[in-house]
Amino acid sequence: MKKILTYGLIAGIILSVISYGGLFLAIMFLPSLFVDYNNPLFNSNGSRDLMFYAHAFIISFALSWFWERFKGQFHGHFIWRGLEFGFVYAMIALLPVMWISFSAMDITVQMVLSWLLYGFVQAFAAGVLFAKLNP
């Protein structure tokens, strides 16, 4: 349990930098990709900002637990293990959620694909970190 929390916390800090830093740069250099977020589906009064920025830690603790439980299933070089870990997460957790989100909500294909990629990159980065720190 201590290992899960410790590596989850470390991954949370690193994912915060990667996720929000990446998002900040993407908005700065590719603003046209974010025009559709001016949409009432997205919270606009700032009341959930803390929850938004806590996301990197939520996913990190969840992935840390998942890694601890199934790390024996991922073999090879630590980069490859991270890649496979990210792919498994994307297939099992992200794809079905993205599917149902797109079918039910007024969002664009571009948004859904970017979320899929974003989640995959987060899980890949966490997987590489776990494979290095907690092989």
Binding site: Y20, L23, F24, I27, P31, S32, F34, V35, D36, Y37, N38, N39, P40, F42, N43, S44, N45, G46, D49, F52, Y53, D106
Partner: protein, 202 residues
């Protein structure tokens, strides 16, 4: 000896004199089809223009020349009542977002009340710049603004009144929309422009 008949004659004369006094002049303008209101704003990812086009309520604006007015401005009266749901931002999501920001469910209509203008319009083809005061009631908040007007008369004797003014969301206690933890943020400033088409009636 003043009889009731004399009182009546004197009273009628006074009314007549007031109505046709060189210091008193009333202009009435009725809105015709094609008037519009436009809002220009921006976020850190895009610029947006939202408009209400083809406003066609037959509202009447009146200018009353009255040289006794203390600050030399002339009473300019009339009210435009507009539906928030008629805003079109040319992007379905942005349109919905603007309506939500303007609290459409609580305040489905907003009002522009004309208050005064700086001088009596000459109504000629060349554009005439005057200033005026309007009161805008939006999302339950009433705020007074000075407005720059351009007035002109076209070949069909249609009066074009274009009013421009920068306002802010915060003027009306509205919060500029922010998304993704504030990474996408609308700027507070909005440029409002209304273009009214009117015919003079008397």
């Amino acid at each position: 000896m003043f009889t009731p008949k004399k009182y009546f004659v004197i009273g009628a004369y006074c009314l007549f004199a007031m109505a046709f006094s060189p210091n008193s002049q009333l202009q009435k303008w009725v809105l015709v089809h094609g008037s519009s209101l436009k809002i220009d704003g921006s976020t850190n990812v895009n610029h947006f223009t939202c408009e209400i086009s083809n406003y066609s309520e037959p509202d009447t604006l009146t200018v009353h020349k009255n040289s006794n007015h203390k600050d030399q401005s002339l009473p300019f009266k009339g009210v435009l009542t507009l539906d928030v749901m008629n805003f079109n931002c040319h992007n379905a999501m942005m349109t919905k977002d603007l309506r939500k920001t303007l609290k459409e469910k609580e305040f489905p209509r907003f009002h522009i009340r004309f208050s005064s203008i700086s001088s009596l319009p000459q109504l000629k083809a060349a554009q005439e710049a005057i200033t005026g005061v309007v009161e805008i009631e939006l999302a339950g908040v009433i705020k007074q603004f000075n407005v720059n007007y351009q007035l002109s008369l076209d070949a069909h004797n249609t009066i074009h009144l274009v009013g421009k003014r920068a306002v802010t969301f915060s003027d009306f206690n509205l919060q500029p929309p922010r998304k993704l933890g504030g990474m996408i943020q609308a700027k507070d400033k909005l440029d409002v422009e209304f273009h009214l088409l009117m015919k003079e009636i008397n």
